[in-house]
C-alpha cells in the first residue's frame, strides 16, 4: 500500500475509535440535517430545483470553451486580468509574482478550497508574506495549524469549549462559551488585518459567462471586506465553476445555501467583475482572476466521469457520508474530504498513491442521494476502482485471489466443494476457541466482530434433501 494509504489507515483507525470526536461530528451534522430538512420545504419543488441546477452545470461544463472565453473577454473589457493556469504551480507562481510586484506584506483571504488545493498560503508565507484566513472556521483552523476539516465548515470537528480555549491561548481573549461573543473576538481581531492588507484573495462559487462576473457566498461578510478593501483582489477558481447566465443564480444560490447549510439564502452574496472604476468609492485598484485547470481538463475528456465537474462544493455528500462521520475530515489527508474527494482526489493526484480513498467506502450511496446536481458519486467510486485495477495498482496476491475466486465460482461443483471445505475448516478452528486470534483465517472479520455460525449444510444441500436431487 502507498505511503498515503498507510497514513490513511492509521488516522482512520485513530479517529474511528474516538467517541468524543464521533459525538461532536454527529451533533453538528444533526443540526445541519434539521436545517436542510426545513430548507427543502421552502422550495415549491425541490427535485425540480436540483434538476435545474444539474442542467445549468451540465451546460456550463459541456461548453466550457465557449463560456470561459466569454467570461474572460468581459473581465478584460472591465479592466481586469485573467490568467489561465494549467497547473497549481502556475497559479501559485502567478499570484506570488503579483504580490512581489506590489511589495505585498499581508494578504487577507476569503475562503477558497482551490487555494488549499494548490497550497497557496504556504508558498506566500515562504516569501515572507503574512496570510490571514478571515472566514471564521478557516481562522480557527489556521490558529491550530490545521488544514480545513470540511470544505464548507472547516472547524466542524471542534466544540465551543475548544474554540474558547484556543482564542484564550492564541489571542489572549477572555474565555467564553457564548457563540456571538466568540464571533466578536474573531471579528475584532481580524478588523485590523482587513485594513492593513495590500492584497485580498478569494475563491469563486460561480463564474458567470454572460455577465463577466464571479460570485462569492459567505455568512460573515469577510468575503466582501477581503475583496473590496485591499488594493489588489485575486480571485482564484477552478475552470468548472462557469455557468452561462446571471439569471441562473436565481436557482443556484438558494439551492447551494440549502444543501450547504440549510439557509434559505446565504447572508452575503457578492458579484464582482473588475477593478474600481472612476467615480466609485470602493473596490480594488487591480482585479485578477486565476482560472485553474490542475487536472480538470482530464476529467472533462472522460465522458464517463465528466459530470464530477458539476460539483458546486456544497458539502452535502460529505455530511451524508457515514465514513466521514466516523473518520472525520483530516484522516483523508487531501484537500477535498468525503465522497466528492474520494472520487476527485485519486483522479487528480494519481491512483498509485491515492486509490485507497475510492476503496474506503461501503458504496452506500447516501452521497448520490443528496447531491444537488445529481452526481452519481458512488458509481464514480466504482469507476475509479475499475480504473485503478486497470492501472495495476494492486498486489499480485490480491489479483491471484480474485482469479481463484472466479475459477471457483465458474463451476457450481467447485463452489459447493470449496464452500463445504471452508465451512468445515472454520467449524474446527472456531470450535477450538481460536475465533479472532492470529490463527483464525477469518481474523480480518473476527478482529472486530463475531463470526457467523458455520452451518453443516449449505442451502443447496438442504434444497436437495427437501426436493430430491435432480
Amino acid at each position: 500500500m502507498s505511503t498515503a494509504g498507510q497514513e490513511f489507515l492509521r488516522k482512520a483507525a485513530e479517529k474511528s475509535s474516538d467517541l468524543v470526536h464521533r459525538g461532536i461530528v454527529r451533533w453538528n451534522i444533526d443540526q445541519y440535517d434539521t436545517g436542510v430538512g426545513k430548507g427543502k420545504t421552502r422550495f415549491a419543488d425541490w427535485s425540480a430545483a436540483r434538476q435545474r441546477c444539474h442542467d445549468i452545470k451540465w451546460e456550463g461544463v459541456n461548453h466550457l470553451d465557449k463560456y470561459l472565453l466569454q467570461f474572460e473577454q468581459k473581465v478584460k473589457e472591465n479592466g481586469g486580468h485573467v490568467f489561465w493556469a494549467e497547473t497549481g504551480e502556475e497559479a501559485r507562481q502567478y499570484i506570488c509574482d503579483v504580490a512581489a510586484r506590489h511589495g505585498v506584506k499581508k494578504v487577507v483571504k476569503s475562503k477558497s478550497m482551490v487555494s488549499e488545493e494548490i497550497h497557496l498560503a504556504q508558498a506566500m508565507e515562504k516569501m515572507g508574506i503574512e496570510v490571514v484566513e478571515t472566514d471564521l472556521g478557516e481562522f480557527i483552523v489556521q490558529l491550530r495549524n490545521e488544514p480545513p476539516y470540511h470544505i464548507v465548515t472547516p472547524a466542524m470537528h471542534l466544540n465551543r469549549q475548544q474554540v474558547s480555549k484556543l482564542f484564550h491561548e492564541k489571542l489572549g481573549a477572555a474565555e467564553t462559551l457564548d457563540p456571538p461573543e466568540l464571533v466578536a473576538i474573531a471579528r475584532r481581531w481580524l478588523r485590523k488585518d482587513f485594513f492593513s492588507a495590500e492584497m485580498g484573495i478569494s475563491g469563486a462559487n460561480f463564474i458567470i459567462a454572460d455577465a463577466g462576473m464571479l460570485t462569492i457566498t459567505t455568512n460573515e461578510g469577510n468575503g466582501r471586506l477581503s475583496t473590496s478593501v485591499p488594493r489588489i483582489h485575486v480571485a482564484l477558481t477552478g475552470i468548472e465553476k462557469v455557468i452561462p447566465r446571471l439569471q441562473d443564480l436565481a436557482t443556484l444560490w438558494p439551492t447551494l445555501a440549502t444543501t450547504g447549510t440549510g439557509q434559505p439564502i446565504t447572508c452575503y452574496n457578492t458579484l464582482m467583475g473588475g477593478a474600481r472604476r472612476a467615480g466609485e468609492v470602493d473596490g480594488p485598484e487591480e482585479f485578477h482572476v486565476v482560472l485553474v485547470d490542475n487536472g480538470r481538463s482530464e476529467l472533462l475528456a472522460d465522458l464517463e466521469q465528466r459530470e464530477v465537474l458539476h460539483c458546486i462544493r456544497c458539502g452535502a455528500c460529505i455530511n451524508a457520508c457515514p465514513v466521514f462521520r466516523n473518520i472525520g475530515g483530516h484522516a483523508y489527508g487531501v484537500t477535498y474530504p468525503g465522497p466528492i474527494g474520494s472520487v476527485l482526489e485519486p483522479r487528480l493526484l494519481g491512483f498509485k498513491e491515492y486509490q485507497h480513498l475510492s476503496f474506503a467506502s461501503s458504496l452506500c450511496g447516501a452521497c448520490t442521494d443528496v447531491c444537488p446536481v445529481h452526481i452519481e458519486l458512488h458509481h464514480h467510486l466504482l469507476h475509479n476502482r475499475r480504473n485503478a485495477i486497470h492501472e495495476g495498482t494492486h498486489s499480485a496476491s490480491e489479483r491471484l485471489g480474485i482469479k481463484l475466486f472466479r475459477w471457483m465460482m465458474m463451476s457450481a461443483r467447485r463452489f459447493r466443494f470449496f464452500g463445504w471445505l471452508g465451512r468445515m475448516a472454520l467449524r474446527v478452528i472456531h470450535g477450538m476457541g481460536l475465533e479472532g486470534t492470529v490463527l483464525d483465517p477469518m481474523r480480518p472479520w473476527t478482529k472486530d466482530r463475531a463470526a457467523p455460525a458455520m452451518p453443516r449444510e449449505s442451502f443447496r444441500d438442504l434444497w436437495r434433501k427437501q426436493n430430491g436431487v435432480r
Binding site: L9, A12, A13, S16, S17, R22, P322, V323, R325, N326, I327, F359, A360, S362, L363, C364, G365, A366, T368, D369, L382, R385, R386, N387, A388, I389, H394, R399, I402, K403, F405, R406, M408, M409, M410, S411, A412, F415, G419, G422, R423, P444, W445, T446, K447, D448, R449, A450, P452, M454, P455, E457, F459, R460, D461, L462, W463, Q466, N467, G468
Partner: protein, 254 residues
C-alpha cells in the same frame, strides 16, 4: 401455479441457508411453485465492487445464461438483486449478452418487493410475537427504492410490534470487501448502528439483506448486546401453529 426461480446469493447459500429455506416456505405458502437452478453460483458482485470488472464479467455472463429461461427470479438480497438489475447492463455493455442481461434484470426481484409489488401480497399469515425494528439496507433503499415493502409485510405479522430505528437509513458499515479492508471504519459504523438498535428497544433488527445482518449480528454479539438480527423472510416464514417450523413445513407438492 405461477412459478418463480430462486436466486440464492453465494454467501446466503453457504452461511445463511435457513434464510433461503424460509423464502421457499413463504413463496410456497402464498401459492408459488419454486425452482432452484442448481448451476447458479455467484453474481460477481465481490469482484465488480473491488474493481475487477474483467473477472466479474464471466460470472455475470454465466448468471445470465443460468437464469436465461426463468420467468421470474426472486432473491432474498437487495444487494445482489441490484448487481443484476442495476450493474449488469453497465458491466456487460458492448458484449453479446448485454440485451439479455437488461431483459433478465427486469424479471429479477428482491423478495419483499416481489411479494408486495408483483404477488400483491402483504399478509403471508405469519406470526412473530416480538418487538422488531427495520434497518434499511443501502442497495435496497437507494438502488431499488425498497422502503415500505418490508414494513407493509411486517405490519401484518401477528403479534409483531414494529418500532422505529433512529438513523435507520444510515449504512451499517458492511460494504463487502470494505468490511475487512477497512475493518476499523466498518466496525465503527456498525457500532453506531448497534447503538441505535439498542436505543430502539427492539429485540430483533430485520432487513432485506443478509449481508448487513451478518455484520450487525457480529457487532451486536461482540458488544454482548441482547438484540439479535433476523432476515425478514425468516420472520414471514414463522406461523402461529406451534412446531410447524420443525416439521419441515412448507414442503410443497412437486
Amino acid at each position: 401455479m405461477p412459478k418463480v426461480s430462486l436466486f440464492i446469493p453465494c454467501f446466503v447459500d453457504q452461511l445463511n441457508p435457513q434464510v433461503g429455506m424460509d423464502v421457499v416456505r413463504v413463496l410456497r405458502r402464498i401459492g408459488y411453485e419454486v425452482d432452484f437452478p442448481e448451476a447458479q453460483t455467484c453474481c460477481g458482485q465481490p469482484a465488480f465492487n473491488t474493481g475487477y470488472w474483467d473477472e466479474a464479467r464471466p460470472l455475470a455472463e454465466r448468471f445470465v445464461r443460468v437464469f436465461g429461461s426463468a420467468e421470474v427470479v426472486v432473491s432474498p438480497s437487495g444487494s445482489c438483486t441490484t448487481m443484476v438489475k442495476s450493474f449488469y447492463p453497465e458491466l456487460l455493455a458492448g458484449t453479446p449478452l448485454h440485451d439479455d442481461a437488461v431483459k433478465l434484470g427486469e424479471r429479477v426481484y428482491e423478495f419483499t418487493q416481489f411479494l408486495v409489488k408483483v404477488a400483491k401480497v402483504t399478509d403471508v399469515g405469519a406470526s412473530f410475537p416480538h418487538k422488531v425494528t427495520v434497518h434499511d439496507s443501502c442497495h435496497g433503499l437507494r438502488e431499488l427504492h425498497i422502503k415500505q415493502e418490508p414494513r407493509e409485510l411486517l405490519k401484518n405479522v401477528r403479534g409483531l410490534e414494529l418500532v422505529d430505528l433512529p438513523y435507520g437509513e444510515e449504512c451499517c458499515g458492511f460494504g463487502g470487501a470494505f468490511s475487512v479492508k477497512y475493518a476499523m471504519i466498518s466496525a465503527a459504523m456498525g457500532d453506531t448502528k448497534a447503538g441505535n438498535i439498542e436505543k430502539s428497544g427492539a429485540e430483533y433488527v430485520t432487513a432485506a439483506d443478509p449481508s448487513c445482518l451478518m455484520h450487525i449480528e457480529g457487532i451486536l454479539r461482540r458488544k454482548k448486546s441482547n438484540a439479535r438480527t433476523i432476515h425478514v423472510a425468516s420472520i414471514l416464514a414463522q406461523t402461529a401453529a406451534a412446531g410447524e417450523k420443525a416439521s419441515a413445513a412448507g414442503r410443497g407438492p412437486r
